[in-house]
């Protein structure tokens, strides 16, 4: 498409052609502005970073978001990672991996079109291969609290209108499709799964929610949504699919109550017998000491 003709050599001796100088001025104006800060690099603090795993910043951001989503407790206002803006990582003397980072988020619930970019900053402390990283995260407010409560209540009403007990197998289906009327179920399940995913995350293990199998939905006497389901989590570094049984109780504005039990990877010997789960422990987060060290703020 582009014809390139050689610009004629300057015909006037001394002094710039007036148009050329104007051009030069315009060039300066037209030059693209400095781009946004590039994605952070993995720096080391006091100790060599021999143990730092790949994609640590993204990993830390996702861990922070699992925690944030759970604590926000709002199935209509879930966030996913958009991009890491900057970050640093250290390994401290206790062999803990600390990550400070800033990242942008987008809305999980919205499909294409509406782009609401949020900003978060977080400090994530991975405890030397132990799960449940300590998270201190602050995110910009995307929508007013009142609107968020309204949208949560709308979601709640949509769920109440579903016929119960609801028996759904495989959501999404094999082709990635979720029936729009059942979408609130997925969002609420994602909220509950966020807790479980945070709970299992280590500096080497990261989780994604793949699919719901076996969904049961009841209502309790006080109108809470009582939700029992099995979720398939995908752990990235091992590529394993981890089925987790989750039982949650939710009412808009009230703290989410979550019970869970995940199936661990079988060894060949164990595989021949049935895998009986131990009794699921009720998880009341306010009691957990690790939880106390984690902080979530929406500014």
């Amino acid at each position: 498409m582009q014809h390139r003709r050689q610009p004629p050599s300057a015909s006037r001796p001394g002094g710039l052609h007036p148009a050329a100088s104007l051009l030069a001025l315009l060039l300066v104006l037209a030059l693209p502005r400095a781009t946004a800060a590039p994605a952070g690099h993995e720096d080391t603090g006091r100790l060599p970073d021999a143990g730092l795993p790949r994609g640590l910043l993204q990993h830390a951001a996702r861990a922070a978001l699992h925690f944030f989503n759970f604590r926000a407790g709002s199935p209509s206002a879930l966030r996913v990672l958009a991009a890491v803006q900057e970050g640093r990582a250290w390994i401290n003397q206790k062999k803990e991996c600390q990550v400070d980072l800033a990242f942008t988020t987008e809305s999980y619930n919205q499909e294409e079109g509406e782009e609401r970019l949020g900003k978060c900053s977080a400090r994530v402390l991975f405890r030397n291969q132990k799960p449940r990283p300590a998270v201190n995260v602050t995110c910009s407010r995307l929508i007013e609290k009142k609107q968020r409560q309204e949208e949560d209540y709308l979601l709640y009403k949509q769920m109440k209108q579903l016929k119960t007990p609801l028996d759904v197998i495989s959501m999404p289906d094999s082709h990635g499709h979720i029936d729009p009327s059942l979408r609130p179920i997925w969002d609420l399940a994602f909220l509950g799964s966020s807790y479980v995913m945070w709970e299992k995350t280590t500096q080497f293990l990261q989780y994604y929610m793949m699919q719901l199998s076996r969904v049961k939905l009841w209502k309790t006497d006080d109108d809470e949504i009582d939700f029992d389901y099995t979720v398939l989590l995908h752990e990235f570094s091992t590529q394993e699919i981890i089925p987790c049984h989750i039982h949650l109780v939710w009412y808009p504005g009230k703290t989410l109550k979550v019970k869970h039990h995940c199936q661990e990877l079988q060894t060949p010997e164990e595989a021949s017998g049935a895998e009986e789960g131990s009794a699921a422990a009720l998880t009341d987060l306010s009691r957990t000491s690790r939880e106390k060290r984690s902080v979530y703020t929406e500014s």
Binding site: M1, Q2, H3, R4, R5, Q6, P7, P8, A19, A20, L22, L23, L26, L27, L29, A30, L31, P32, P53, R54, G55, V80, Y108, S170, P172, S174, H175, G176, H177, Y208, M210, Q211, L232, H234, F236, S237, T238, Q239, E240, I241, L265, Q266, T267, P268, A271, S272
Partner: protein, 426 residues
């Protein structure tokens, strides 16, 4: 009518390029030689990224130029300051392209021949039928080559794209991991793209005039069928060892590249189980035998999902390969071309630093065997849907992936032109 010609030419130019939101097409009529000179100087300013559809020639003859959004103000100010008259022919190029694109997509999605919808997920039988259909429709170019059998005795069918002769070749496979359905779907679309573009698209034509392409759309047919009928999340083959309770081996830990090393499991129940020995899996052995027998494979490309990555060796070690610089440059170029279509972001680099250390992988084996251009794609998305990518993303995924594949193939083609003919592998 003129507009249609412009758009047609523009569309041909823009496939795999960036979007044009806010860009305008201006018509400028220079009145004298001085104004012509100004426009020529403007044309030479690279930073403005002007795209002249009709270049400045003689006074009184209209000049047409597409001005990117970011340069609009500067250009208009310049024209006005020089007293050069202009008018806006197209207010927003993207709006027009969107309409045109919509129609294009609609036409593409309509049944082309028979009932195969490339924008949907298909059973193994449907895929096999469509492969036969392509062979029947393009007999001079496409043939089917059986390279072996799976554990459960399903044929491993490869599509060969060839314009004849004993040419060097590109290897492309998909679906080595059963649950990564967007890869098999992308492979079918790609097969159709290559077949229908030969003779029409200069790039595909020159690639196939220089090299053959071997495409294996379903590398793990047993696993694929199992993921369709029983367990959507199945990854491995379906091989059984007598006495073992757990089924299957991770076919991408089974290659002879630091087999049994880090990043692979020796637990048969694990999804990354490397298997009893290298090439123990029939599916892997079939490919290895084929590549060795052919003797002149110049590129080895494999498709996975998900994560949006374009990677090259090594996975089994975190040391860089000898060809790091070149492979990195090619991969970067390919990823940029991919991103330019729909804005999908890809990360680029060696497997070990981009994803994780993993031994026994296919492109590590291919590279160490002597196939320099070895690449692995991880297609959409980044985890929102993961393996369960909705079918409405198949076509955009395939289209953008093609931009990346095409870039790599062109580079391989160009490298062959400087090769000594008849060079073979050890």
């Amino acid at each position: 009518m003129r507009l249609i010609l412009f758009l047609g030419a523009l569309l041909g130019h823009i496939y795999c390029r960036e979007t044009f939101v806010g860009d305008q097409v201006l018509e400028i009529i220079p009145r004298n030689e001085e104004q012509i000179k100004n426009l020529v100087e403007l044309e030479a300013e690279e930073h403005l990224q002007l795209d002249f559809w009709k270049s400045p020639n003689n006074p009184g003859q209209p000049v047409h130029v597409r001005v990117p959004f970011v340069s609009l103000q500067a250009v208009k100010v310049f024209l006005e300051s020089q007293g050069i008259a202009y008018s806006i022919m197209i207010e927003d190029v993207q709006v027009l392209l969107d309409k045109e694109n919509e129609e294009m997509l609609f036409n593409r999605r309509r049944e082309r021949n028979g009932n195969y919808n490339f924008g949907a997920y298909h059973s193994l039988e449907e895929i096999s039928q469509e492969m036969d259909h392509l062979v029947a429709e393009y007999p001079a170019l496409v043939s089917k080559v059986k390279i072996g059998y799976s554990f459960q005795n399903r044929p491993m069918n490869v599509l060969k794209f060839s314009t004849g002769g004993d040419k060097p070749a590109i290897w492309l496979d998909a679906g080595i991991h059963a649950r990564e359905w967007v890869t098999q779907a992308t492979a079918l679309w790609t097969a159709n793209k290559i077949a229908s573009d030969y003779g029409n698209d200069p790039s595909v034509t020159s690639i196939l005039d220089t090299m053959d392409i071997f495409l294996l759309p379903v590398t793990n047919p047993d696993g694929y069928v199992f993921s369709q009928t029983t367990n959507r999340m199945w990854r491995k083959t379906r091989s059984r060892v007598p006495g073992s309770y757990c089924v299957g081996v991770d076919p991408n830990r089974n290659w002879d590249a630091d087999f049994g090393g880090p990043g692979a499991s020796d637990n048969p129940c694990s999804d990354s189980y490397h298997g009893p020995s290298a090439n123990s899996e029939a599916e892997v052995k079939s490919i290895v035998d084929f590549i060795k027998t052919h003797g002149n494979i110049k590129a080895f490309i494999t498709l996975h999902s998900y994560s949006q990555l374009l990677m090259f060796p090594y996975g089994y070690t975190c040391s860089n390969s000898d060809d790091f610089d070149e492979l990195n440059k090619v991969a970067q170029k390919a990823a940029n071309s991919l991103t330019n279509l729909y804005g999908t972001n890809y990360k680029v680099g060696p497997i070990c630093s981009v994803i994780y250390q993993a031994s026994g992988g296919s492109i590590d084996w291919a590279y160490d065997y002597g196939i320099k251009y070895s690449f692995a794609f991880e297609l959409r998305d980044t985890g929102r849907y993961g393996f369960l990518l909705p079918a409405n993303q198949i076509l955009p995924t395939a289209e953008e992936t093609w931009c990346g594949l095409n870039t790599i193939m062109e580079h391989v083609r160009d490298s062959i032109s400087t090769d000594t003919p008849g060079s073979k592998h050890h």
